[in-house]
Symmetry: C2
Subunit: 375 residues, 2 copies
């Protein structure tokens, strides 16, 4: 642990990289997957088990937390780490993405975005400054600038307007962060520009002029498809500062992550392992299976007999099937645990393969085992 | 662990007793509280944590398991212990009580009870023989005879008819058990007779003539109230075989249990700690609290800072309050864990007090701390 936020690149294998982000709250080994703890809890998980799966960092959602229990309340209770009993690093988003996807009656202006809570209809204003204020109240270790995240497809002109607004908000975010943050905390800028190469370059140039200790890639995984996402990464990551961590926001399924690591990305977050776990989908080395399928009713084998994770090793598929059929809490609990463990094993496998200069073999094996064609 | 089922009484303090039930699957320290694992899972709990709270035995519900996933399927998967990953003792009820409370179109005859499943409307017949067959398929260590459990109030004549039917079923159950069971498994007879002293005595006489390694007290906690339940225990337990364990079925809240131990009962089961935990109620040394109350929104104190249970010790009431307000899985998970730990600590406290000859002090302190007047 360091008193400062820093990133050390330990090895590269083609565009794929492995390293360590050092923070006052602990190390984050990259490539890193960050489980999503939307409302101060990684859904259906005990936080000690999140750590045991191999997670170095979890994500909190500014939009949810500002509305309930409120950032001010979390601060008065000692901050988000103490609130959720997780002493290690926490990354927060800016709240902007979820305002646009979840809230009612939102109105975007140069100043920020006014909206009504989806919970109780209360009115709020999220500006770059307010977003940073909230993230500092939460005590977030890695904070995000407020940005606008348009869907793809979007016309070039509109995409550029939006990207320029995000760039102006990046500057305001940095100024607010410099006033409010504590030593060792970091603010990331977010590259926008939809799927236009010139706009991604322009966005990146503006952000690098402002200067951030890490850069996020936003505006992907918004419906463009895996191939298009990979195409955008291929013309974006080569121009990013190699000495800074690169975070692909909201991504993704295992094949998305493996493919993005192959294209130079270091950090990921996604609700896929937790959400799909709650709905009966298990990620395994042989791909995804739906445990609710009748074929599992009599299957005595566990999801992964060789796993170190109790959820993967100690319960038959027949039992997991039964738990989901009976609507028992334990079904989502075990399958979420299994999925997060699978994700962290995947990340650990990639880190080891990159360090050993065998990442191409890793990708080939992943492709063969899962049957994924585009990785 | 013993190859046989046996009960050793270690100490008495007035009517209160402490001892050990020995089974091939492990010891059960009495007075014992058995968490309810209705459908093969103690709801919202990891089974390892059930054990860590101090539980020596859990309960499974024959009615639920016979319908889903079916006893035959559990047997083909290695039995209920393996299915739910709990190697220690399991007690099962006969299914009769829940047929009468949950199923549709039930019809009671001398032979047994015909009913339709509440899940899919399928038709089933539960006889004393079929109940034992199911409990043996599940691999239950402590099995219950099929009985009829009428509500109180009930007229004397009807109560006697019902009690006599249960006594005839006790005999048929024992015959079936002798055919189907494995060494070390035990079948308990169930004392019925509503709140009539003569009927409880007659029921007990009939059961003791048949002979069982343990006796259950059924037909209580069916609406008669705590005082009346204690009155029935006071004229029932003194006539029960002191060398056999006594199990008060479906009881209860902490004050019910403390009062019943004071009246000579050894074993208990109840959904109270698990069900109330899922609904936001926490049992504490100072009585029950509803964590959803607005007053807890800013309360930084945990439920029990001195506890060895992480759920009681490591999370603020404000956090638990937030989890319930936000509808998060972790709320029921933590509160169920806390409640089961509280119950097991209560049982451990009673066992120690009885062994030390200080049970009256224990009851006085319990009464003072919780404010319960009838114990």
């Amino acid at each position: 642990m360091s008193a400062e936020f820093s990133f050390t690149l330990n090895a590269s294998d083609g565009p794929a990289r492995t390293g360590v982000i050092d923070t006052p709250r602990g190390e984050i080994r990259t490539p890193a997957f960050m489980p999503v703890g939307t409302a101060g809890t990684v859904k259906a998980m005990l936080i000690d088990h999140v750590r045991e799966t191999g997670a170095d960092i979890v994500l909190g959602n500014t939009y949810h937390l500002m509305l309930r229990p409120t950032a001010e309340r979390v601060a008065s209770l000692g901050g988000l780490h103490q609130f959720m009993n997780w002493p290690r690093p926490i990354l927060t988003d800016s709240g902007g993405f979820q305002v646009m996807s979840l809230s009612k009656l939102r109105k975007l202006t140069e100043d920020g975005v006014a909206f009504q809570s989806h919970i109780d209809g209360s009115r709020h204003m999220l500006t770059p400054e307010r977003s940073i204020e909230i993230q500092c109240l939460l005590g977030s270790d890695i904070q995000m600038q407020l940005d606008e995240c348009p869907a793809i497809p979007i016309e070039h002109g509109a995409a550029r307007e939006s990207m320029l607004l995000s760039a102006r908000w990046a500057e305001r975010s940095k100024r607010a962060f410099e006033e409010k943050s504590k030593p060792g905390q970091a603010l990331f800028g977010i590259v926008q520009g939809a799927n236009y190469e010139d706009l991604r370059r322009e966005s990146l140039d503006k952000l690098m002029q402002i200067g951030f200790p890490g850069y996020s890639i936003g505006g992907l995984a918004v419906g463009e498809g895996r191939e298009e996402m990979f195409r955008v990464l291929e013309f974006t990551t080569p121009h990013m500062d190699a000495a800074r961590p690169r975070y692909l926001m909201g991504v993704g399924k295992p094949a998305d992550i493996v493919g993005a690591v192959a294209r130079g990305v270091d950090m990921f977050d996604c609700v896929a392992p937790t959400r799909s776990g709650r709905h009966g989908q298990a990620w395994t080395r042989a791909g995804a299976v739906n445990i609710k399928n009748a074929g599992f009713a009599d299957d005595p084998s566990p999801l992964d007999p060789g796993s170190t994770c109790p959820a993967s090793r100690d319960y038959s598929k027949a039992y997991l099937h039964h738990l989901f059929r009976a609507g028992e809490y334990l079904g989502p609990m075990l399958l979420t645990w299994h999925n997060l463990h699978y994700y962290q094993e995947l990340m650990a496998g990639m880190r080891a393969a990159i360090a050993a200069g065998r990442f191409a073999d890793f990708v080939a094996q992943f492709r063969a085992e899962t049957g994924e064609e585009i990785v």
